[in-house]
Symmetry: C2
Subunit: 187 residues, 2 copies
DNA sequence: GTCTATAACTCGATAGAC
DNA sequence: GTCTATCGAGTTATAGAC
């Protein structure tokens, strides 16, 4: 079985984006990993930006699906959001999408920023909707933004520390705090 | 009154680091802003990395001082931590220190990662110490990590969205949640 | 559709005059 | 201590053969 070059290029970019970021990810490295030549890459994509956008959209989809799966489980709304927070992640690598949101080139190119902004907005909305199922929780919108922010910030701290400790502490702190507002009696 | 070239170089780098990140910040732009020539810069510093480290240390010091000032005020421990969260910031620019913590070149160069990691550790410790003043708060260490993470994540969300909305929501959510554990009777 | 060669540019850093 | 000229490497992208 053999996937075509276009597909392999997106696969490779999907893998390299979180590792190198956008600016530091060179077309040469993509071509190497995808086992695709220079000319081939520029045949399928107009350039690095278009390829990165395709890969970002794919990574964003994957994360959205994972969020929906994690929050669809059993338990109170708060418990389901906590389950999402506790998901398996690789803190030292960085978030496959958020990792590049600090990159200046990305933020200044609307085509690249768009899929990232949309994913975070969708994540926030999804989590807010789950929390809103419990009518006694006020400000579900703000709590949802906080949940997404804790995750992204936890990645930043882990990378800055060179170890996952701060990541786990931050997630743990957020989980504990959320549980204190969970009355846990609406199942 | 006239500051020497060395000082102007650090000043300029201090300003450019949060704006451009590390990789995208070129020595040429530093020289332009500092009104210092190429040769002069390489006379005072061994290169871009050494200059960036000096600037990062300065930015980290500034932020630590601001955190200590904000948490030294009136009110319960939780109120003082919330006051720190609510400090005036420029979400679309990015944190003067955390902004570069995602950069691969920075993370892989111990000389650059060190001052960043140390600042976050110090922030966490400071906030944990404040929260620990209230003996009824459990897991002050984890809550402190969460507070620092929320801030860093809020920056990420704002840059990804291209507007400060998500930043304000995340800070607001964290503030509200923290206030729910504040019994507010130990002053 | 894929290849190789190379253009056009920018990067960080160095050399050597003054 | 500061200047200008330049190096060598690496960048994204294009040209043109196959």
């Amino acid at each position: 079985m053999h996937v075509d070059a276009r597909e392999r290029l997106i696969d490779a970019t999907t893998e390299l984006l979180p590792r190198d970021g956008y600016s530091a990810m060179s077309p040469a490295s993509i071509q190497r990993l995808a086992r695709v030549g220079q000319g081939s890459m520029y045949h399928h994509f107009s350039g690095k930006a278009e390829l990165a956008r395709a890969a970002l959209e794919r990574n964003a989809d994957t994360l959205m699906v994972a969020c929906e799966a994690a929050t669809r489980g059993e338990g109170t709304p708060v418990q389901r959001v906590c389950a999402y927070l506790q998901r398996e992640r690789d803190p030292l690598l960085g978030c496959p999408v958020g990792r590049v949101a600090q990159d200046r080139e990305v933020v200044e190119d609307e085509r690249l920023r768009e899929p990232i902004g949309e994913m975070f907005a969708a994540l926030e909305q999804r989590i807010a909707a789950v929390l809103a199922e419990d009518a006694r929780i006020d400000a579900p919108t703000e709590l949802a933004a906080m949940v997404v922010a804790v995750l992204q910030g936890a990645y930043v701290l882990a990378r800055a520390a060179g170890e996952r400790g701060p990541f786990d502490r931050a997630i743990d702190g957020a989980t504990r705090l959320l549980q204190t507002i969970d009355k846990g009696d609406d199942r």
